[in-house]
Symmetry: C2
Subunit: 502 residues, 2 copies
């Protein structure tokens, strides 16, 4: 069998393993390999083979005819040095693909099927095409609730898990992004001030103007090592860090990378995605917020109720106590949309500043209240009042300051955005609707979340009476190009519906 | 808006458009692009933008931070010169993806939906992930027969079509490969000798030991330009050429490239695939052979019957007259498996050589007979006799020689394979089963179809009585490594089942 010399090709193909072979490579000809075919690469019996999708190259500067190139992640997964003699074969399709085909044909899969699928995915044995087939198969004929449970468990088992050594480890999750919905940054200090353990790993924005990690980063360092997380939580009962460093339910990240471009709606996969991350992160009690409305992921109350039952079913069988609250999504929460503007809102609420947005305060108190009631010592119905006391007394602020110091304080407030543009009402009226998606879109165009100070500052909310020329909101941007894009988008559709006052 | 310098990256990503951006490219950071995200590339209002999947590069030798790289096919589709200033944006998902999502959700799609999907696919606006979603969506909830019709038409409309200017243009198609099934190379000369028009474009082997184009290539040139095809068919009423040069139903090739790794069984897509190619190739009358059996694509008689009705439904509404015959797939046809060995069988049948395999002759006569009956002047039931006369009289051979000369004669017979290994019966018995898949597998390992002379020469067929030590078949190979692989595979499982003679 002819060998090839291993070479690293400095292309990041994300979670898809890609191998590069020169068109003049004798193996390419003789083995009848095809572009996009999957091949198996070995260098002997000691090392686990990797499977990769084949791309054909016509430039010897990328790979020469006697070389086999591997993309960055494939190269590091394989783990051999450049120049190693490697052998290439047609790859046998992963056995678990048989289960995917059964799923597509309408079968129910069992726990072992899901485990084998997740093992193969996490070891990069699935191509994107195969992952898409799995997702569509699960989306279309739908998943039984037991299948959601199996998938959740399989996703936990194929990654790392954290353990905090306590009986009560709380977390929260909101389904679908409402601009400005930064309740986490209020809930963590309130709940931790009560003494509950809330080690909060958050995400960065993917399609929204700010994730909790982006906003917290305005105040403090969020890239914490697992050791540092442990130290902070031991001392302060809570932290708000970026969750990307731990390999919690890594299959979820891979599935999402394929699902996102499809913009597909798979309920079962969403439930497994959310719960596997929380279980892997060591949570024991979880509050889930399901906003319902036209721009939310969930459009009707009955759909939200069905989701609640599914969360409860999977949670109960996975040792995770779940509370679900259903909220409304008719407008952004707070005034700011974008990391720095949202961080300002959060600090105003903690500081009991009269300018603080009441809706953000109120939603955070309600959620914190529900979480506090996970504590057996808190009487049912008393959580809200307890949360309010913790906030009004300044104990929540004190806790936040301590957490910020422990994580590593950043200068706050940061410099304001250089460019500002006021968007005004073009006629008198009452604010009848605010389009969350359009507001988020304009805020992203303005530079959020990359430029921390960029975003939108809302001056009016639903029900407010305005006169022609009154400010609806201000666009904040750092760079001229972004600024212009955002202004153009707002000129085209400012996201506000004004109705004639009656 | 910042521009980048266009650069060609000599990587063949097949039908997926891929763009390469350096990780240090300022646009990558500021626009929040993600690996695997889809981006749109323009250089101004004159040129149609292309959409490509983004790969991130860490090697300035592939693309520099101020460059945008495009894979070979993407670069040529875009059509601008290297160094052109180009602009990059987030791509709007193709509108037809909405229809794909509806299909996944279980909806029926209409003719326009299929047309828009095919248009977007043929213009490389779909990623592999999105194509997979479409295929799985069509496979799972299944397709109504009208949807198969719409997809067939859409696949024809989004490619080129041939027209031969005659009322009767015949073709044949066999579903699923039986090793040695080279009837096409007998049917074309028989039918053309009768004067019927049979311009036959064939495929090369993908997963089998030989395609018709591979086998014909042993005798003659098969890479004909469309002009050459016209000349040959005008003079001789038929040819057997490789069909890869014409852009007939190109969407089909793209769908197959994604479907193949999934090894998925989508009836609707199969019907659209076969019929769109034939309609685009200008056929008016088509004979379809459906082998039924354990190693065939179709396993039962009733499944074959359902398929027949679907072919007839779509054919009738597309101006294509369809005849279906159902055959059996219990063993390879003829003696040879592999291009040169199969070409030998074909020529023996045409030459009425006493060594000619009777089963190949018989199947070809039956099929040719059915096709001849498309001629209004041939009385029903007389086709078989007519075909036999054309063969026995040597007129079919004469026609084949003329076609071979017209396409460009190759030396025949070619040199025999250098390496031969005889596989023998290990006990007395009667041949009770021959595993087509294992025979095909061994023939491919031996080097077929890349090495024309490689393959398997069968000495016994079903029902033959053998004694221990008798030859079952001979493996032919050109290269020692292939030879050893094939011998090992045959030692492990020779594909024959011998039962005790009673």
């Amino acid at each position: 069998m002819t060998s090839l010399k291993l070479r690293k090709v400095a292309i990041d193909t994300y979670h898809e393993n890609v191998a590069y072979l020169h068109r003049a490579c004798p193996l390419y000809r003789s083995e009848g390999f095809q572009a996009l075919a999957k091949i198996e690469i070995t260098d002997g019996p000691e090392r686990a083979p990797v499977i990769a999708v084949l791309n054909i190259v016509d430039d010897a500067n990328i790979v020469a005819p006697d070389e086999l190139g591997l993309s960055e992640q494939t190269f590091s997964q394989f783990g051999a040095a450049e120049g190693t003699a490697v052998f290439v074969n047609h790859a046998t399709p992963p056995a678990s693909l048989q289960a995917v085909r059964r799923k597509i044909a309408g079968d129910r899969l069992d726990a072992d099927d899901f485990l084998h699928i997740c093992e193969d995915i996490v070891n990069n044995r699935y191509s994107k095409i195969e992952i898409a087939a799995f997702l569509v198969g699960c989306a279309e004929s739908g998943m039984e609730r037991d299948e959601m449970l199996y998938l959740t468990r399989a996703m936990v088992e194929t990654g790392e898990t954290l353990s905090w050594g306590e009986q009560l480890v709380v977390d929260k999750h909101c389904i679908g992004g409402i601009p400005g919905n930064r309740t986490t940054m209020l809930i963590v200090p309130i709940v931790a001030a009560h003494g509950m353990l809330m080690p909060k790993t958050s995400s960065r924005a993917i399609t929204s103007p700010a994730g909790t990690a982006d906003t917290m980063e305005v105040l403090a360092e969020v890239n914490l090592t697992p050791e540092r997380m442990r130290e902070v939580v031991q001392q302060h009962r809570g932290f708000i860090a970026w969750g990307g460093t731990a390999r919690l339910a890594p299959v979820d990240d891979i599935l999402i990378s394929v699902e996102r471009p499809l913009a597909m709606d798979s309920r079962g996969q969403m439930i497994a995605s959310i719960l596997s991350k929380k279980i892997a992160a060591g949570s024991t009690h979880l509050l889930i917020d399901i906003p319902v409305g036209p721009s939310a992921k969930v459009h009707t109350q009955s759909e939200a109720m069905r989701l609640r039952k599914l969360f409860e079913y999977v949670g109960d069988r996975s040792g995770l106590t779940i509370e679900v609250m259903i909220s409304d999504d008719r407008q952004p929460i707070g005034h700011g949309v974008g990391p720095a503007l949202e961080a300002r809102d959060v600090m105003q609420v903690l500081q009991n500043d009269p300018r603080a947005p009441l809706d953000l305060r109120e939603k955070a108190l309600q959620m914190a209240g529900r979480i506090l009631e996970f504590d057996p010592d808190v009487r049912g119905g008393q959580g809200y009042h307890l949360a309010r006391d913790l906030l009004d007394s300044g104990r929540a602020l004190q806790k936040m300051e301590a957490i910020v110091d422990a994580q590593g304080r950043h200068d706050f407030p940061p410099p304001e955005a250089k460019l500002k543009h006021v968007v005004t009402a073009d006629h008198d009226g009452v604010v009848a609707a605010i389009n969350n998606l359009q507001i988020a879109h304009i805020a992203r165009l303005a530079g959020a979340p990359m430029d921390k100070a960029a975003g939108i500052d809302l001056h009016c909310k639903l029900g407010d009476r305005v006169e022609a020329g009154d400010t609806l909101y201000t666009i904040h941007a750092e760079f001229q190009a972004d600024f212009q894009f955002a202004r153009d988008a707002a000129a085209d559709n400012n996201g506000y519906t004004l109705e004639k006052a009656s």
